[in-house]
């Protein structure tokens, strides 16, 4: 076991796969000589050379389109979009081309590619550099969506994403870059579509993703310590494929469901999970399902406002406590 930052785990995960498969190539703005603007790809150019690690112009449509064309002709490209907000500039390539081509061609075309991106808020970058776009991707059939919360999962899910024969949107959370964690030695692969129960509990299920996982976890500890509430915390890890079993099993045990979502309120992944449980898990439910989200607003840049916007540990604790009380 080595301790790595989430940041270093990104490069480690990519390197593991580039080492293994010469068809894995990396492109993006400043991914090469500069090692990435967040230093997420540091050392890869030196190690794998300019044929495999290519700097591009500011041309997101061309970056994503080129990744698609390369994937359909034998490569396994990994393309970086520097900030996830920039998916909007290339959304046609992602949502209309990459997501749909396999189906439209009845399986003639496979698109083994990964679009990686720095996602999420917390750095006071304002509304155009802080978004959580995982639900944009989840809403589009034909895309797999991954959002790791720990360095080990960064490596393991990156490996699975690169090996996956289908397109994967891989969201690396900016607020977690400096977080450290143990990463298993040797080849590490975490299969897509398996949520992790990161804390067991019996009174309520809290489902979270990426940067909301440590917050949900801390909230659960406080709920236990301060309020005697035993919360189970699930780290989704992937939105597509979605580990519906783990969620439904947990709710059938706890009878109560909360989501903790960084995305703006409407049509997030939480709404999908609520819908799943309100249908298939309805008879297990004891109380209203509650989503704890960012309000439906663009993200403000001032530290004081950004901190208020995102679900905090306090808000999670308070909401769970109050809603459980009400339901008693």
């Amino acid at each position: 076991m080595a301790e790595l930052t989430y940041r270093a785990a990104v490069a480690a995960g990519i390197a593991q796969e580039m080492e293994r498969d010469p068809n894995v190539v990396l492109i993006g703005e400043d991914v090469g000589a500069a090692g990435g603007v967040f230093k997420l790809t540091e050392g890869l150019l030196e190690r794998f050379g300019p044929e495999r690690v290519r700097d591009t112009p500011i041309s997101e449509q061309a970056i994503v389109g080129a990744a698609m064309g390369a994937a359909m002709t034998g490569l396994r490209p990994v393309a970086e979009l520097m900030f996830s907000d920039f998916f909007a500039v290339a959304w046609d390539m992602v949502a209309n081309q990459i997501a749909k081509t396999r189906y439209m061609t009845d399986g003639q075309v496979s698109l083994p590619l990964v679009l990686r991106t720095a996602n999420g808020a917390g750095l006071r970058f304002g509304a155009q550099h802080s978004q959580s776009i995982e639900n944009w991707a989840m809403a589009i059939p034909g895309l797999k969506v991954v959002a790791p919360a720990t360095p080990a999962d960064v490596v393991g899910l990156m490996a699975a994403a690169i090996r996956d024969p289908d397109p994967v949107i891989f969201c690396e959370h900016k607020a977690l870059f400096a977080v450290k964690g143990e990463v298993p030695d040797g080849e590490h692969v975490v299969p897509l579509g398996q949520a992790a129960v990161v804390r067991e509990g019996s009174d309520a299920t809290i489902v979270a993703l990426a940067a909301m996982v440590p917050r949900a976890r801390e909230a659960a500890e406080r709920l236990a310590a301060d309020h005697g509430i035993s919360a189970e915390v699930i780290d989704l890890r992937c939105l597509v494929p979605l580990d519906a079993h783990t969620i439904l099993a947990s709710v059938s045990k706890t009878s109560r469901l909360f989501t903790v979502e960084e995305n703006p309120r409407l049509c997030g992944w939480g709404a999908e999970i609520v819908s799943l449980v309100a249908d298939e898990g309805f008879y297990s439910l004891d109380a209203p399902i509650v989503r704890i989200t960012t309000p439906h607003i663009p993200l403000p840049s001032a530290a004081a406002l950004e901190d208020l916007a995102l679900p905090t540990v306090e808000r999670i604790v308070e909401t769970v406590r109050r809603r459980l009380d009400e339901a008693r």
Binding site: P57, A62, L242
Partner: protein, 332 residues
């Protein structure tokens, strides 16, 4: 692009003629079948533009890649894709080229190098660049050819793809078929330069290449030069071929926004009979050409006969082939 034009051998000439006649015959029948209600959804014909598809295809290696648009029947046929599955796709049948999932606008046959027809204007230029980059990386010697219209030169993806292809010296040929209209609007009314592609080549450090798109031999020569260049590692080209579609933009559009005399003048320059005349003048026998014409009629009739009785897609294919495992499961 000044090198002396190489002679085109007889075999290639006849191959190009055959492609043009096949395309024309196929599409004329497709149009009739659209009006009969057999072709559903929409259809965009390339009648009048066959010289481009034929001239370029005859300059390609079998393993080269074609990327084209919703107006892609000709380019797809030109790569040797059989007619019956194309008809079946147009009819929405189970035996369609993509099993009825794609439709007229998305014809694809990867095994023929027909890497897809794209229906969002401009999207396939970056994708073609990507295939070229892949060929470059794999040192396979393959070239990607990307066809698009005049209207496509005004969308952002065009610009991004051209610049990146030039910087990467990618083996890709961007081929603009300037048929002078974007749907119903004349291209000159919405474009800041006279030649929407050729006048922009310099913006990507490329030569300006403007040719007659109705002369299949001219097209063939310019395409061959560009493809050879790309294969040799000398980077991309941008070619503008001026041509005209005889009919409307799509479906039932009668194309009434175009002056009658303009239409008449271009129909008088119809590339198919023009090439027939040219070949006759060069000593090709009438019977040989008639045989090709007859083959086309027979092939189209046979393809239609094959596609017509094919069943509609079965319900159980609706949710297949979203993923490479053949399924569409998004959850466990």
């Amino acid at each position: 692009m000044a090198s002396a034009p190489p002679q085109i051998d007889r075999e290639t000439q006849l191959r190009m003629y055959r492609i043009m006649v096949d395309c024309r015959t196929f599409e004329e029948r497709a149009q009739e079948l659209f009006f009969e209600g057999l072709v559903r959804g929409t259809t965009h014909l390339g009648i009048g533009q066959e010289a481009v598809a034929a001239g370029v295809a005859a300059a390609m290696r079998n393993d080269d890649y074609t990327f084209c648009t919703y107006r892609g029947h000709n380019h797809t046929l030109a790569r040797g894709v059989p007619m019956a599955p194309i008809f079946a796709e147009l009819f929405g049948r189970a035996t369609g080229l993509m099993g009825g999932k794609g439709g007229s606008m998305h014809l694809t046959s990867v095994k023929h190098g027909a890497m897809g027809s794209y229906a969002i204007v401009g999207a396939h230029l970056p994708i073609a660049l990507g295939a070229a980059w892949s060929a470059q990386y794999r040192k396979s010697g393959q070239v990607a050819v990307c066809f698009f219209g005049d209207g496509t030169t005004n969308i952002g993806a065009f610009h991004e793809a051209l610049n990146m292809a030039a910087v990467w010296k990618a083996p890709v040929v961007f081929f603009c078929e300037n048929n002078q209209y974007m749907e119903y609007t004349p291209i000159r009314e919405v474009t800041a330069v006279e030649h929407p592609a050729a006048d922009r080549a310099a913006a990507y450090g490329l030569d300006s290449i403007l040719v007659d798109g109705n002369d299949v031999e001219v097209v063939h020569r310019v395409a061959k030069t560009a493809i050879d260049r790309a294969r040799a590692g000398d980077g991309p080209s941008l070619i503008e071929a001026v041509t005209y579609r005889h009919g409307g933009h799509s479906r039932a559009d009668p194309g009434k926004y175009r002056p009658d005399d303009e239409v008449a003048a271009w129909k008088a320059r119809d590339p198919v009979p023009a090439y027939r005349q040219q070949l006759l003048a060069q000593g090709v026998g009438e019977t040989e050409l008639e045989a090709i014409d007859g083959d086309a009629r027979e092939a189209v009739a046979a393809a239609e006969a094959e596609a017509r009785p094919a069943p509609e897609p079965a319900a159980d294919v609706l949710e297949t082939q979203v993923w490479t495992d053949g399924g569409s499961a998004w959850r466990n």
